[in-house]
Amino acid sequence: MCVCRFDEAQPAPIMPRVSRRVIQQLSQSLVNRIAAGEVIERPASVVKELVENSIDAGATHITVEIEDGGRELIRVIDDGCGIPPTELRLAFASHATSKLLSDEDLFAIATMGFRGEALASIGSVAQARILSRTNDSDAGYEIFNRGGEISDPQAAAANVGTTIEVRHLFFNVPARRKFLKGSPTEFGHISEQLLKTTLPHPQVAFKLLHNGRVVTDLPATTDEERLLAAWPDEFREQRLPIEVRDAELRLSGLIGLPELARPTGKYQHVYLNGRPIRDKFIQHALREAYRGLTEPGRYPAAILLLTIPPQDVDVNVHPTKVEVRFRDSGRIHGLVLASVRERLLGSDLTPKASPRASDPVDDAQRQDMQAKLAAFFKSAIPGAAQTTAPPVPSPFQGEGKGEGSAWQLDPAPPVQRSFEVSGSPAPVVVDRFSDDRNSPIHASPSPQPSPLKGEGVNPSISPPKSAIQLHNSYLVAQSDDGMIIIDQHALHERIMYEELLARVQRGTLESQRLLIPETVQASSRQIAMLDTIQPLLQRLGIEVLPFGPNSIAVQSFPSFLEKLEPAKFVQELLERGEQELLDLHDEEMLHEVLDMMACKAAVKAGDPLTPAEIEALLARRELVERSSNCPHGRPTTLRLSLRDLEKQFKRTGF
């Protein structure tokens, strides 16, 4: 048995001694410090706990003051209900809370916190002070906790609400203190954490100060305005508001156009009943909803606020509550998948060809904005981008030029691009959020196409008959409102995919038997997986048999994939299957395999096409669903409108 230790002052021997040690009850302060290890990881965790307490206390203004990245001081001031002096001592006791009254309450948690651990934990690893005054009291009271030594409450001058100061975090846990990063990095975490915590609480105004300077000022505002604080500024228009509710569940938020998907989940935020969570069911539902619209391994941008009855979820499974357990996870999965998918299918997803960066007006405006904001950002989060912390969603790390601009400093409305709004044919382009919260889906200026048909096919483009091939890779054709540029590989891939899908639904694919079966090294787990996917493989014309303890043999392979190597293909398939256990379900697996097949069988960039082939490709484009993106999710088609051209050639007013 080895006892966890926090204090390096008494080094334990690395090798366990032979002589037996006595089992004894740990002291309360040690228990608290161990608990603190789970809850309090760094200054940002303190901020999270305290701000959540303030929100639970019904505060409408919360100010967070930080000194030296939180190593020196963390002060959270709220105007909430306050703590009466009689309860002050209990506030620092562990397992003491005002948020649960009975056993039943634990199974219907409506507050952010509930365990009564946070303050006790913080108090055990720092020097904390609570100054609080309740509404009905004339005076405030303060109480100190120095690493577990709690003073008696004393009268002190205070406004209504609670102020908690945490100084010298980890002063008695040198090992932890040593692991803290530099002040900018820690502040970056705080700032990120605070943004995450504030997003679902637009009714609360937040202010963040570092070393006495206001870094962030978020006034109380509407849902959508607050969410935009975490939305990448340069992609304001590539967003679709979403709002679905039934008797019990409510899903709202923003989802990004497929082109906004990023290799990390930094633009993906999921909130459950106001609390940021990480949930693989919801992530999966999102990924599924964007299947075929984004490249694999990319995370679609989305901020989802999910409200469900508290008794339908168990938040008591993770110390910092980022993971939860749903009573009915299938229902949540279904809700997210269906709502997001429907929203996407009802929208035109063809990205615009004109790059924003080359628009002179935009550039000037952005540079202006950037100049104004740069100073703030530099002081606020210079180290944030270099942290080696795990890839938590970071709304502060913008893309390229817009670095940091996701954090909205100024309550003023965002830069308005009215000319684009009125001129762009994309029905999803909205200027700003409509305040009409009952129908945010209809915020777009043009009517929604029915989700059942016309997905991805831009109604404003009539089928072009011919196109020019550029560099044996791209096709350029005239459209009603300008021109379209087609990636021949991506489009052909999508067409092949849809045709294969239709084909497989009719019957098995034709397959060529192999004279000399190809053997593939396979792990025992992969071989076990074969049983599950065998029926699917057979439909696709792939016959695979176990061949010895750690290899398998491919016996036949679809004849239209004759240019591929069966062994390599099957190996890739098994590796993918092994990594994404969830996708072993028949239908999803089928999609993945067809993706792979279509990609490999389609014409490649660099293949010259005859006019007849081009014509056939364009004609088939109209017949195929979701032709706007290849099955991997990359766009097949870009659009350049006459308006864009006129703008670029300076034929219009600007």
Binding site: R503, T508, L509, E510, Q512, R513, L515, E565, A567, A601
Partner: protein, 368 residues
Amino acid sequence: MKVICNRGALLEALTVAGNVVAARTPKPVLQCVKLTAADDRLTIAATDLEVAIRYSDPQVQIEQPGEVLLPADKFRDIVRESIDDTLSIEVVNDQAHIKGQDSHFKIYTQAVSDFPPVPDFEGEPDFEVPGGLLKQLIGQTLFAAARESTRYAFNGVLIVAKNKKLNLVSTDGRRLAMAKSDLAANGKLGKDGAQAIVPAKALNLVDKLIDDPEEPVQFQMRENQIIFHTSSATLTSNLVEGQFPPYEDVIPKDADKTMTAATADFLSAIRRAALLTTEESKGVRMSFTKKGLQLTSRSPESGEAEVNFACKFDGADVEIGFNPTFLTEALRVVDSDEISLELTAPNRPGLLKGGQNFLYVIMPVNLQ
């Protein structure tokens, strides 16, 4: 070095050598040819480190022996575009001067010492084969080799010389071709004979080197190289590493159904039946009965084809699918007027035989 060359002969030599010169390489020296003037001939050498060739051109007049390294492309273009019957090549310091009647090209040469050694044919051949026969063996097998398989052995042709037999075998994992011939003498080969997997590129070049079907091609087989020698050229190739599959095991021996037909007619019937196949449904359905063979193909997009082919068939009725391309490719290289196709079951390989010396194993297609 100073030589006067017959332009036509030099161009031919450069064209042959140009097939070996590396197209893209990080080593520029591999894009050169080496000229050696000695012993009344000009030897042109080129290599891409896999295959190396020495081609000798006797139609030269050597005024001063020597050697030089020239960029293959530029040199060949100069020789091709020149209008003279003869060209003179003279190397002074690090420049080569190529002169015609009204032209003078100066090319900067590269250091000869940088060029990798290109082996010559030395000693006795292991065995030799008439050029015409070798051409036929190559033609009957090379097409069935894989192009870019990661099973490297499939990218070459297996040459087996043993017991006064020379056999070439190739496969891409779906079909297998085997061409057999007799050796006049076992030559220097031991009792166990010799075998090697030769890259397709090398055999292609050997095929091009053979002009005269009567002229023998000499072989030397080393541990990791094979050397072909004709009167004008020596071609050395590295061997393909890897294990050639046990080809004798996959040749069916239990076939109980046999079709015999005229080669040209069978080829025509397959080609017609294949007209309505598509990328995704390539297979042609073949239904063998006592009455003959019915070939059908069907594609959901285009339509259906049916060919009723009169032929002799012994055995129980069977229906089997084949990729028509695999069959037509083989039927084109058969050198006999009649072929036989032996079958066992719809999921078992078929065996095509053309004369005594050509075998072709083909796996069927599972039709929908």
